[in-house]
Amino acid sequence: MIEVSGLSKRFGAVVALDDVSFAAADGRITGLLGPNGAGKSTCLRILYTVLKPDAGYAKINDVDVVEHPLWARRELGVLPHGAGLYPQLTTRENIAYFGRLHGIKEPALSARIDQLVARLELEEIADRRAKGFSQGQRTKVALARALVHRPKNLLLDEPTNGLDVMSTLSLRNWLSELKARGQCIVLSSHIMQEVAALCDDIVIVAHGRIVAQGTTEALRERFGNKSLEDIFVETVAGS
């Protein structure tokens, strides 16, 4: 369960977030939808504690992340934007490094990596160095890395960026599976179809403010028979 309230953040004169509040429930996928520069990444970065908010709070299971950043990071699996790997390390080594930093010891670590490699179909590249991986391969490894400590909450910043159709589909299947296991998933995207296809709840953000939020169905109902795309264009233009 993730909750942000009254979240504000500015970088110099630029207001990145202005009084943003929403909640993401367990067993659901919540989508932050908005154009580039809307403040989606800033919001996620505050949640995974690399940025501090100027005002408001962000909580995971009712614990403030600003007050307990290390605890928050243990509770979170994070796929940041770009998600770089270490090119000189193999897939296994990349995952193992984060596993060790999460305090996972052998043999549990190896067992967990085997499990992730099998589930994400990484066998072929498991012992290859990450140098020269395709974007799809990189994202998969980064996702495995983010899940190594079995986090209950998952934050994904533009996870489908640069992925081809097949990779996008398998990522969707994966997220649906994690959702079914009761995990709380928040992802950001600027692609409406993706959010509509994947998310149970949608938060539309533009210029650092929330312009609309609700379940996917509720938003559809509220805006009549318009497609999500129309809603998006309408709300963003009107803000």
């Binding site: 690399v50 243990r74 770089g84 270490y86 090119p87 390390l89 490094y97 930093l101 890395r145 983010a146």
Partner: protein, 394 residues
């Protein structure tokens, strides 16, 4: 216990061990390039110092026909009259000014007459003192001329029944107390410079990797989401940097042990005095410099926005430890307790003393090590504070 610092350090050592640039700068630049360059440099310097006195030097002489005896004497000492030298004093002056000759000698037309009469026979040395090569040449010609004048003077005294010793009221005997090892120190003094440079070069790419590299690859942000304090991450990276610096230092010392075998220090009556025991002591004296170097490089790299920018700034950092060395060689400073508080200079003085085979003061070494480590710790703290900024993500 597997602390996060160790996890980070181990991963950096492993990852960079697979990186060609790091391996090149750690295993090749320091250990091979520096000793080889040093050996070549010393060989060139030695051969210059040795050869100049026996080499035949061409000396334009105007009016050589007036002093056949003198010319014969000059010849015997390797000063060969130039065949196509200037014909007159004016020509000679112009030729030297042009830089065509380093030096020329003009025998006065009345030389023969004066010589025969026992008056002072005159010769003129034409030299351009602003030319560096001319100083050595004129010194050489002057020495030979003095010797000739002395010889003739003594013969004249003897011919008049006088002991030539009456002309020498004071005889100067020089007693050189420098040991053989101390004399080679001028050359070996450069060694500290090369060693410090190789040590820094060993950690160069790791220090860049810690901030700019990770940021540029996009792996920094995921790393910051693990439940480990940023200070632990940075300390782990610095520890790995220190490992590579120590490795580079050790290999470079080994390289010098081999390279110095090919340096003819003995031909100048010197003893290189660089065996395994000295190498080990040098390693121990220089090792405390590595935390300082690692922290300094990491700190500077934290300011930069990209890998390339970091490379540019760190290249300048490589010069910082050489500044005290430069100052030391200009001012010719002697080891002093207070100077032991200045990192790199203290290491230079201690290693130089070690190479001179002078007794090493362990209290000096302790102060030097403490100063370097403490300053290194302060810089590391500063780097950690920079690493804690939000702007780190860029």
């Amino acid at each position: 216990m597997r602390t996060p610092i160790l996890v980070v350090c181990r991963k950096e050592v492993l990852e960079n061990g697979r990186d060609r640039r790091t391996v090149f700068s750690t295993l090749f630049f320091g250990p091979l390039f520096a000793p080889a360059l040093f050996a070549v440099l010393i060989n060139v310097m030695l051969s210059q110092a040795l050869s100049s006195m026996d080499e035949v030097m061409e000396l334009p002489i105007i009016g050589a026909e007036h002093a056949p005896n003198l010319v014969g004497f000059l010849r015997r000492y390797g000063l060969e009259p130039a065949d196509d030298g200037p014909a007159s004093l004016e020509d000679a002056r112009a030729a030297v000014a042009r830089g065509q000759h380093d030096i020329a000698l003009a025998v006065a037309p009345d030389y023969a007459q004066a010589f025969r009469n026992g008056d002072d026979a005159r010769v003129t040395l034409i030299v351009d003192r602003s030319e560096t090569g001319a100083t050595a040449a004129s010194q050489r010609v002057r020495t030979v001329l003095d010797a000739y004048a002395n010889q003739i003077g003594m013969l004249r005294l003897q011919a008049r029944g006088l002991n030539p010793a009456v002309l020498r009221a004071v005889t100067i005997d020089e007693l050189d107390v420098s040991t053989a090892a101390a004399r080679s120190v001028l050359l070996l003094g450069m060694l500290t410079y090369f060693l410090l440079l190789a040590t820094l070069a060993g950690g160069f790419y790791l220090a860049i990797d810690a901030t700019a590299g990770e940021r540029e690859r996009g792996s920094l942000e995921p790393l910051l989401t693990v439940p480990v304090g940023r200070s632990s991450l940075l300390l782990g990276k610095m520890a790995a940097t220190i490992c590579y610096m120590l490795l580079s230092l050790a290999l470079t010392l080994f390289g010098f042990m081999i390279a110095l075998k090919f340096v003819p220090l003995e031909s100048l009556g010197m003893r290189a005095n660089f065996d395994a025991a000295v190498a080990l002591q040098t390693f121990l004296l220089l090792a405390p410099f590595t935390p300082l170097g690692a922290a300094l490089m990491t700190l500077v790299a934290s300011f930069t926005r990209s890998y390339k920018e970091a490379q540019t700034y760190l290249t300048l950092v490589l010069l910082i430890p050489t500044l005290p060395l430069l100052l030391a060689s200009l001012l010719n400073v002697e080891p002093d307790f207070r100077l032991m508080w200045i990192p790199s200079l203290s290491q230079h003085l201690l290693v130089t003393a070690l190479l001179k085979a002078e007794p090493l003061s362990w209290s000096y070494a302790a102060v030097s090590a403490t100063a370097s480590v403490v300053l290194g710790a302060l810089l590391a703290l500063l780097a950690i504070r920079l690493y804690d900024r939000e702007a780190l993500l860029g």
